[in-house]
């Protein structure tokens, strides 16, 4: 278990501001944030590479704020792997075990075991410069896991890989975590990684933790406009609550009314609707969705296998390319946008 209590630190243009977090034993914890948010600085501070200006870091209940890195029992994997270039794969993996003065026999066994679990025994005698990105990442992971760390810190471990390798390694990370149960803190700016890997997610912005929760909760119910924008919530609307009957709020926005599940009874609010929660139809539907807004298509933006359809009423909907083709949607076409009251997240301004 790892606990951060009000950790603050400034280093160059990066800073951490009163970070308080609690990562449970065996948890896969994601720190999600944009570039420059201080994610790497946070990991490096936990690892003991920087001393916080204030606050405490506890690892398994022991105050490690001022302990040198070698005494913390932490495995660290950087984005660009940072394998020791002058050592073979086997020497890289055994580095930490040798530094700990383990017997040769034990070192050999542990190295063989961790190499086998990551499927890299064939790389044993190779030098890092001869390995692919995916292989290097596996070796870096093996090196960190070989010391049986109390905590594994992963600094954007998948961001330098091609999409196919990234997907494979993402599954690998999940599998390794499930089999070893090592407490893991993984920082990333990739929302897919956060959703698919994290038991919980903390959103770090401008050196501050602005939201912590289960991935679905954070993605569906962002705490503020900045978080929502970063998490890809395309529909951020300002409005005023006109009525609330039994927890169902009626919000007047610019141009249309929205029904949402919210305890807020009055006042100015911000509404968040994820674009994938909006259904488009060329004709009126009989639907359980409480909201239906008519609009005209103004623009269609391709996003890989999906497209983002912009409407003149300000809404944006994410649909598949196939749906786009089947509905014959193009700029100028009239459509109906449906979304459920439960898909609308309301926060007071």
């Amino acid at each position: 278990m790892i606990v951060l209590e009000g950790v603050s630190l400034t280093l160059g243009s990066f800073q951490l501001r009163r970070i308080s977090l609690r990562v449970e034993r065996g948890e896969y914890f994601i720190v999600l944030g944009p570039t420059g948010a201080g994610k790497t600085l946070l990991l490096e501070t936990i690892a003991g590479f920087h001393t916080p200006r204030e606050g405490r870091i506890l690892i398994d209940g022991v105050d490690m704020t001022y302990a040198p890195p070698e005494e913390r029992g932490i495995g660290f994997v950087y984005q660009d792997y940072l394998l020791f270039p002058h050592l073979t794969v086997e020497e890289n993996i055994s580095f930490g075990l040798r530094a700990r003065g383990l017997a040769e026999e034990e070192i050999r066994e542990r190295v063989a075991q961790v190499m086998k679990s990551l499927g890299i025994p064939h790389l044993r005698g190779r030098y890092p410069s001869t390995l692919s990105g995916g292989e290097q990442q596996r070796v870096a992971l093996a090196r960190a896991l070989a010391i049986s760390p109390k905590v594994l810190l992963l600094d954007e471990p998948l961001s330098a890989l091609d999409p196919q390798t990234r997907e494979t390694l993402r599954r690998e990370l999940r599998r390794v975590h499930e089999s070893l149960g090592t407490t893991t803190i993984h920082v990333t700016h990739d929302r897919v990684e956060a959703l698919t890997l994290g038991d919980r997610v903390a959103v770090l912005m401008g050196g501050e933790v602005v939201q912590v929760g289960a991935p679905e909760e954070v993605f569906e119910r962002p705490g503020g406009v900045e978080v929502a924008e970063f998490l890809g919530v395309e529909n951020i609307l300002s409005g005023v609550v006109r009525a609330n009957r039994g927890g169902i709020a009626v919000v007047e926005t610019e141009g249309f009314q929205v029904t949402a599940i919210s305890p807020i009874e009055s006042g100015e609010v911000t509404l968040f609707i994820r674009p994938e929660n909006i259904i488009l139809s060329r004709s009126r539907l009989e639907s359980s969705a409480r909201n239906c807004v008519e609009g005209r298509v103004t623009e269609v933006t391709p996003l890989g296998p999906t497209v983002l359809v912009h409407l003149d009423n300000g809404l944006k909907a994410s649909i598949t390319r196939r749906s786009l083709e089947e509905m014959g949607l193009r700029p100028g076409r009239r459509v109906y946008a449906y979304f459920k009251a439960t898909s609308v997240h309301v926060v007071p301004k």
Binding site: P68, Y78, P85
Partner: protein, 268 residues
């Protein structure tokens, strides 16, 4: 690619290559002229120098003294270079400027300054003479003068070598359980070794070539540059050139051998 195509595609590079070659040519012509004249036109002078015990002793002394100066520079300069490469501290800019001072001051000035301090009645010379170490006209005087002028070459090369090692590699090593010593010994040092060796070779070569600072403090025992100067003043080119050529050939051979030994290897 034909010459004209090359010029059309990379006009700037071609121009730079032409201009840069002039400087290389200058160095080659100066040295080649002397070596060629001696080795091909007057080989008997060179053979005579090889057989001359004074010359051999002098060259041996030069190399030995410079090696000692380099070893001192490596011992004291490595920690300094590491600090300059890795840490920020008050007075760091001043320390970096001080490292380079011996490179920018005239060596006769360095010689006088060293003499004032290390002569028998100088502050340091007097203290050491009580311990039986005399700098004036002794091997130690030669070593001190060589150290003064050559140490910056090692310190600067070592500092750049340490800077070239990603500090995050050291952090990873620490996180894996290695203390600062082990990290330095097993990660930083092997990864910067080529720069350190290269710096030591440059420092050693610089020590061998020193003349200005040495003659003020230790005209005797005569190192090779002093002997060459002495013979030039007495016998002109005929007496000095063979010694100079022999020194050049020996230095080049050692320099090339070290370069070959420290060249990058494949697969790493």
């Amino acid at each position: 690619m034909r010459g004209l195509d090359l010029l059309r595609r990379y006009p700037l590079s071609v121009l730079f290559a032409a201009v840069g070659s002039l400087l290389l040519l200058f160095t080659v012509v100066v040295l080649f002229n002397m070596v060629f004249r001696q080795v091909v036109l007057r080989p008997e002078g060179l053979l005579e120098a090889v057989r001359d015990p004074t010359v051999i002793r002098s060259i041996g002394l030069t190399m030995y003294a410079s090696l000692m100066a380099t070893l001192i520079a490596v011992s004291l300069g490595t920690p300094l270079a590491y600090l300059l490469a890795r840490h920020r501290f008050p007075g760091k800019s001043l320390a970096e400027a001080l490292v380079d001072v011996p490179v920018v001051i005239p060596h006769s000035v360095a010689g006088i300054a060293l003499y004032a301090l290390f002569m028998r009645h100088g502050a340091v010379g007097r203290a050491f003479s009580r311990l039986g170490v005399v700098f004036e006209d002794s091997l130690w005087g030669v070593v001190v003068a060589m150290l003064f002028v050559s140490a910056p070459f090692y310190i600067n090369a070592a500092r750049e070598g340490f800077r070239g090692v990603d500090p995050r590699l050291e952090r990873v090593a620490r996180s894996l359980g290695a203390g600062q010593w082990t990290t330095f010994y097993r990660v930083t040092l092997p990864l910067s070794l080529r720069s350190l060796i290269s710096g030591a070779v440059m420092s050693w070569a610089r020590g061998i070539s020193e003349f200005g600072a040495i003659i003020f403090l230790a005209y005797y025992p005569m190192v090779a540059p002093t002997l060459i100067y002495y013979r030039f003043t007495i016998h002109g080119l005929t007496g000095s050139q063979p010694v100079a050529v022999l020194l050049i050939l020996l230095c080049l051979a050692i320099f090339l051998a070290l370069r070959l030994y420290t060249r990058p290897r494949r697969g790493r």
